[in-house]
Symmetry: C2
Subunit: 369 residues, 2 copies
């Protein structure tokens, strides 16, 4: 029987870890006492197995559990259920890695565009990419369209809705999307440089589908989604139904500590089709460490069977003056996303400030070639 491996960090003392690991293996497979299993086939083929237990710090262990692939039914939602359904309810357990055998991996097409597709769309084969977020929510459609035009005129590659912008009365989706698309078109006609507007798609599956059609009809090529808010299976369905979109994946509702950020945002979002996972950068207003961010970017880009590499997008409390430092750390296959820090410039000064951002990225790239 083929197995996948799920790896957990478990808090425990040395005396308790073997029992806790075994209990987790049972919880994540048959979920009943072994004495209640009377069929040897189920004991041998279905019960998950503890493959290894290694120390990982004080009162902390790294535990690898082998789970029968058959139990996943080769389905997205059930795979998540098998690796982190019930044990997400345990204290002191974090899911940190999954390793899928080839025939299970093969059910996931992953990003349809990935790094290469995004670079082709933007006609930017090598340099780091730029993104700006339109904020704050509460702005009218006209105000948003004007901001969108300004960012595109400044040379920003992707101008995205803030993830708080949905379908509110002050900027309804059906009006905002064509208006921002028109603003981008006007700007790119002036600059001769490609730029894309990424509207935020959010809603129940039925609403999502309606909005995706509106966006597609308006000529949108890049969208923003928050897979954990939509539900991972709903995200999967959306990508399958609208593979022509480039998906920027926002971490909202992703929790801080229950699934390792590198695994959730780097690996799992990518697996389900995220072309460019957005994540909170170190040294900003979130508590992620530099190493965690580096691991996340590496997970997004790592060779992985036929799954295309995804483009890491650090964000969250980014500042213009950090552009060279961040590019030195993340390298050129990166899109920097700056939101509020650009907006400190008022009115006409916004264009100049966004140009500084673009120029800082270009000069970093020029110095490297």
């Amino acid at each position: 029987m083929e197995r996948l491996t799920a790896t957990y960090l478990i808090g425990s003392d040395a005396a308790g870890i073997a029992g806790r690991a075994q209990a987790l293996a049972i919880e994540q497979s048959v979920e009943c006492p072994l004495e209640a299993i009377h069929d040897p086939r189920i004991r041998d083929d279905i019960v998950a197995r503890v493959a290894s237990i290694e120390p990982a710090g004080p009162e902390r262990y790294r535990v690898a559990v082998e789970i029968a692939v058959e139990t996943t039914g080769y389905e997205t939602a059930q795979l998540i259920n098998m690796v982190f359904g019930n044990c997400s309810l345990w204290e002191n357990v974090q899911l940190v890695d999954i390793d899928l055998p080839p025939d299970l991996l093969a059910i996931f097409p992953g990003p349809r565009h990935g790094i290469a597709g995004i670079r082709a769309l933007l006609d930017a084969p090598r340099r780091p990419l730029t993104s700006a977020a339109m904020k704050p929510q509460g702005m009218t459609v006209d105000q948003l369209a004007a901001m969108c035009r300004t960012f595109a005129l400044a040379g920003v590659d992707i101008v995205k809705d803030d993830h708080g912008i949905a379908d509110q009365v002050y900027s309804p989706f059906a009006q905002r999307v064509p208006a921002c698309q028109a603003a981008i078109a006007e700007a790119t006609a002036a600059t001769g440089k490609p730029a894309f507007y990424a509207p935020h798609l959010i809603g129940t599956p039925g609403v999502l589908r309606e909005r995706a059609h509106v966006a597609r009809d308006a000529g949108v090529r890049v969208v923003l989604v928050a897979p954990m808010l939509l539900g991972l299976p709903a995200f999967r369905d959306l990508v399958d139904e609208f593979p022509e979109f480039v998906y920027l994946a926002h971490p909202a509702f992703g929790g801080a500590a229950r699934i390792a950020p590198a695994l959730l945002f780097g690996t799992i979002f990518r697996l389900l089709g995220a072309d460019a996972p957005i994540f909170v950068n170190y040294g900003g207003r979130f508590a992620y460490s530099r190493d965690e961010c580096g691991a996340l970017a590496a997970a997004a880009r790592a060779p992985w069977g036929a799954v295309r590499p995804a483009l890491p997008v650090p964000a969250g409390g980014m500042r213009l003056d950090r552009v060279p430092e961040l590019l030195d750390y993340y390298g050129p296959d990166t899109m920097l996303l700056i939101g509020g820090n650009l907006l400190l410039a008022q009115g006409g000064a916004l264009l100049a400030r966004a140009r500084e951002f673009v120029a800082a990225v270009e000069s970093w790239a020029a110095a490297r070639t």
Copy 2:
């Protein structure tokens, strides 16, 4: 401008809490520095406000934040985004309560059946209700159908799939559901007592819909779902599209600590249509406290505008010998769910053991009237 109130437990020292609370209010509304907001309407109407900060233990504060209702767009996914999108990524922040004004609450039909509907279906107006889980996964359709028949013959009210049972090769959904329905029908014909089989619906939204149709066509009235695995918005769509089902809501993938269990499983699941939230009971194999479980049951049943009360279903490491203690604690508007503990009885002994469970509940009820 109308506002909802979201309440958080935030870890902080006394000197830092005011700043942290204000930062959270900004994160959950405009997500940019206040200096970047040049429109007074947005500052007044859209920026969230800290309403109160109260000590809640050592280095811990209870912070109420008022969020403009308009920002939710009156939508399920966006409501979750506004109350716990980005700040789910913060360390030491737990969402513990939401208070929705009437016009926002009105967009949520809540449970379509609730406690009264479940009692009517089971013809059990007053007594506590019983449920048993079929485990372990890996059993064949014939084995599951036999177990289903046994539990129903014993008088168990609702016989549910283990939440690990999906659509695996050893018990395909399309074969399992009619087989278990037939087994239940046979048993209820023999006992004259109503009983229902609850299959587990899991999948992407498209798969869910297909399976819901299969279940409905087979005459299923009660289903098991795990809303956090499906995604809360996808769960909402499912309930709206198939309101005839009674929804048992499983906590899988719900995390332990980021949203208070009473709020997530008691309040939010109910709000989105769960008729009977399943939760992990105190003193079992999960770390929930007795008080947390009591708060969860209270949240599920509390009067709440036009939203029907939902039936609390404690589960997870339950034991037969605890029936009287648990009913004393939870009271009669409760469904006890016992899984693995019943299955310790092998073969023919399972019927007797399930009967003991039913008899224990009945004798508790008889002693009270």
